[in-house]
Amino acid sequence: MLGRWRRGKAEEPAVLDHLAQLPAAAPALVTCGGLSPTGAGGVCLRAPDPAAYPSLEERLAPILAATDPDGSARFEQSIDEFGHRWLVRRTSVYDLDGLVADLRSVNAAAVESGSTGALMCTMVAFTDARNPPMALVFRASRGTWYPFVPIADGDDVGSKRLATRDNPREIAIGTALEGLLALEPDLSKWFPVWGAPVL
């Protein structure tokens, strides 16, 4: 029992390592129709209830207080339609390393304060300059990544205007990243994040 517990603890940094694999894997996306970073990425935290994760707020405070050289806050904060909280970081398109490091610091604050449950997902946006941006989505609870390629309106069928996603492209992106990134093996867990502020 003790052994299990210890192993569980030891796995936590590994989850963050999976997150940190992205910059090394991203060049492979160039083969997927020339996808490159938009410079935007963000973390979605479950419905803001600071009381539930007091130590998380403590850990987040310095991260949220950090500013760029131009004096603006490093992370933009917003609340989405579901009441969840987004911390969005926009950097230069050339600084994927810095972006992922910033996103990792938010994830680390949650994981190390025992608030992994507060992490909904982490997203990093990519674009091929022709289509709307797509994202790679990381879930700390599973330690895996998956692609999400939304399709713009106008291709919709039926009664309502339904948002759609490009499944064949997602599969192709997944194939390109195989072996480079901890990819979510269960396709039924590739949940879309419609209208995410990083896209």
């Binding site: 039926g158 009664s159 996603r165 064949p168 039924s188």
Partner: protein, 312 residues
Amino acid sequence: MSTTERGRIPADPGLQARMAVTMFLIGALGVAAVAAMIALGVSLVFVVVITAAMLFVPYFFSDRMALYGMNARIVTPQEAPDLHAIVDKLCAQTGMLKPRVAIADTDMPNAFATGRNQKHAVVCATSGIMRRLDNDELEGVLGHELSHVAHRDVAVMTFASALGVAAGLITRFVFYSELFGGSFGGRSNNNNNSNNALVFLAVMVVSIVVYAISFLLTRTLSRYRELSADRSGAYLTGKPRSLASALQKITGDMARIPTNDLRTAEPFNAFFFTPAIAQGFSISSLFSTHPSLEKRLAQLHQIEVDLGQAPY
């Protein structure tokens, strides 16, 4: 649409021959089974009543059962203009009566057609399939489903499978009536016990054999009807490739990718399940009522070649 269709769609003699042989075998099995039951002393009335009941319910209620099973609702042209437009177009091409159009609100990508004839037909698409397919692919799928309606597949398969279901029921009735010392329709318990036990065993064996053979035959027939619907649908829309890509999207791995948002999906996911479909013909199925994806794609590719849309 049989006359119109025959004019437009080249027949596949091989497929039709296999289908005819399978249907003949099912009919022959039925005659043999009834004869065997009567010879063994099961009342003719009993066999006929059970079989008729097995026919009646799915035949007359297939549409309502399927809509209820899928939690689908009939939609008006105002509610689903694009879906109605595709059905209108296909019906105009074939001279079919326009079926009712329904939508089932589930993320599982599927579509089905049901109803005993054109007048009572319903075609239903799930919101999951509408999210995953573009208009051409959806047209291919609806062409497949309307072909089932035109071929009267609900009626054919209901008749074909009624026998097997009846055989299963008779086995069960005989088993319980023997268990509780009653008689099974007709035969009284005047006979001595050992004779009764022999008859009981024989009826069981015949029923099980009939059930097994009829199960295999109906599955075989079902696969032929699916291939036939793929074929008619592909010629009808003139877009075999769209149906092929639709099949890949909804029966392959891709179908497992969800469309419901992460932020709403997670808490409810555990309670989500897909009810079994009652009577009807759906585009995808895990059971062997459908031919393998490879076989369906191969046929569609051949049609593409025949239509001059693809190099061989």
